[in-house]
């Protein structure tokens, strides 16, 4: 099961890498003075990746673009623990947020449609809270982040199958 959605996750990333080559402006330009590799690869083709528009990058005093993309992280069934991939994504997100102390970031916790309305609301909260705690440990100020749970009420994929469910089990970044 984990292999399945890991593979589909990779497939989507692969598609993203292909498509991103076609975009006019590459939002992944890194400020060379920051000294880090850029944020993780983009998942294009939908509006659900958070982080605002690829077009509205800030510009630093050197005229280079500051990354603004924040990627969502995904969870296993009934879990709120962070996988290795999730932590890598969050490490990158932390770097981006730390470049933008003026941001107010909302962490939306989401679940798939199985299970009950009430438990899923609590599970979504736990997912959002565990992401918030992880980012706070990396130095992101706590009051720059707000966690909100939508439980199973606002899915990204309306399908009723394992692929849709895996796609919906996430913390979604909004700023």
């Amino acid at each position: 099961m984990r292999t399945f959605f890991r593979l589909s996750f990779l497939a989507v990333i692969a598609a993203g890498v292909l498509v991103s080559g076609c975009s006019k402006k590459d939002p992944q330009l890194v400020d060379p003075t920051a000294g880090d590799p850029g944020p993780g690869t983009e998942i294009p083709g939908n509006t659900n990746t958070g982080g605002g528009n690829p077009g509205d990058n800030g510009v630093d005093t050197g005229g280079h673009e500051i990354p603004t993309h924040l990627e969502d992280v995904f969870f296993g069934l009934d879990l709120y623990s962070l996988s290795t991939e999730s932590r890598r994504g969050l490490d990158a997100n932390a770097d981006v947020i730390l470049l933008h102390p003026e941001w107010q970031v909302v962490l939306e916790g989401h679940c798939d449609e199985r299970g009950t309305v009430e438990y899923n609301l609590a599970l979504g909260q736990k997912r959002a809270d565990s992401v918030r705690a992880y980012l706070a440990d990396l130095g992101v100020p706590i009051d720059q982040m707000r966690s909100v749970s939508y439980g199973e009420e606002s899915p990204f994929d309306p399908g009723h199958n394992e692929g849709s469910w895996a796609f919906n089990r996430r913390v979604h970044f909004v700023r």
């Binding site: 009934d78 199985r114 299970g115 009950t116 309305v117 009430e118 438990y119 609301l121 609590a122 599970l123 909260q125 736990k126 809270d129 966690s147 909100v148 749970s149 939508y150 439980g151 009420e153 606002s154 009723h160």
Partner: protein, 475 residues
Amino acid sequence: MTKVNSGTAARWALAQIRFGRFFRGGGRGGSWGLGSFVLGSLLLALGAVGIAAAQPDDVEETGSGFEGALPVDPVTGQPTEIDFEITKGFTKTSVLVREFDYDGAQRRLLARGESPEQVLAQDLEFSDFFSVQREDGRRGTPAETVVYARVVSRFGKVVLQGQLLESATGDVIFESEYPLGDPPDRWALHAFSDDVVLYLTGEAGVASTRIAFVGNATGSKEVYLVDYDGARLSRVTSLGSITISPAWSAEGKYIACTTFASGNPDLAKIEVGDPEVVAISTRQGINSAPEWDPAGSGDIIAALSYEGNTELYRMNSNGGDLHRLTFEPNSIETSATFSPSGGQIAFVSDRTGQTQIYIMDADGANVRRLTYLNGYCDSPDWSPKGDSIVFVGRVDGAFDLFTMAADGTNLRRLSSGEGNHENPSWAADGRHIVYAKRDGNDRRLFITAADGSGKRQLTWSRGDQYNPAWSPPLR
């Protein structure tokens, strides 16, 4: 009165064979006896040829592999060894609903082309206490009791004068009057039916009840109401957001809910009939899973996460006077349900790593674990009769309906292989349960008797109908 299509019969027959039992149905179809096994095999052959799709019909039985509440193993959730199903402990009283007389008033049909006698007969039939005959030329066993009414127009108002008559003597043993209106209002028939049930059995009828639920036909998630028989579906909220978890106050005057109208899941309450939505708790984090004290204190128990973790809290109906009940910082506690006396609370916790159902005193003391199913147990609802808790358990991949006694014993399974069941809610009579289940792509509301028989679909609207809550009697 109830249609059983060949698909239903086939699935029923399959259930017999699968569990290798002869069982005498105690449900709505009456006793079938041992010959049912042979009959079932024949019907299985018929069913294999053509399984008819159920047509939307308000009293159609959907049919299922389970037509009884099977005792199951408390860990595996599978039926325990072969045994004979016990029949219901009583025989149904026969009543005859006589055609009404009209005195100065016009005979008018209600919605869905139903006659007043038909609505009354359906209400009495639903209570499961009566074998209802209509005065329509069919011959059954002579009824002990006759239910009759005169519809009278008096000073421009149309009134239903309802009577119970002893069949043998013709004596009137009960009578009462109800404002019927022109066109006739279903509530008058429901009130009369509930009075008949109470008079003849001493038990509460549920004809005067409604079911609150969440629907998304407008594109937003709003709270809706529907009568217990599927009539008069109407929308309660117009918040244009996500509004979920409706919960009735003890006397049925208010509905509490969780709404995202302000961008955060907040607790709010609505007075039925009043469009205003009043905030109860807007604390940071989730304000969820409200339940009112059925003993009438006006207090609400809810799952709040504002102290960093989702725990159970008790508060008054304005969200004040807050008392924290659970202290498990590493786990989720939610989905609380009160015992009818208000003295105990059953709830869901994943403190062991598995999501299971627990019980505690209303002040949070004396926590005990109730369920041990090897899977996931959730969504408990305590019967208003106090003797049973319904919940959902996932043991075979999907969530099924289970009931247990309030001490966790007498575990029974009400469904299998019929899809995902969610959010069961008891009727005031303690004998019927409403729940949500996915039918194709959308969720619909269904009703079952507490013994798992007579499962029927209640709603067919566009979009999802889910998260139901059955009201107390609304008179």
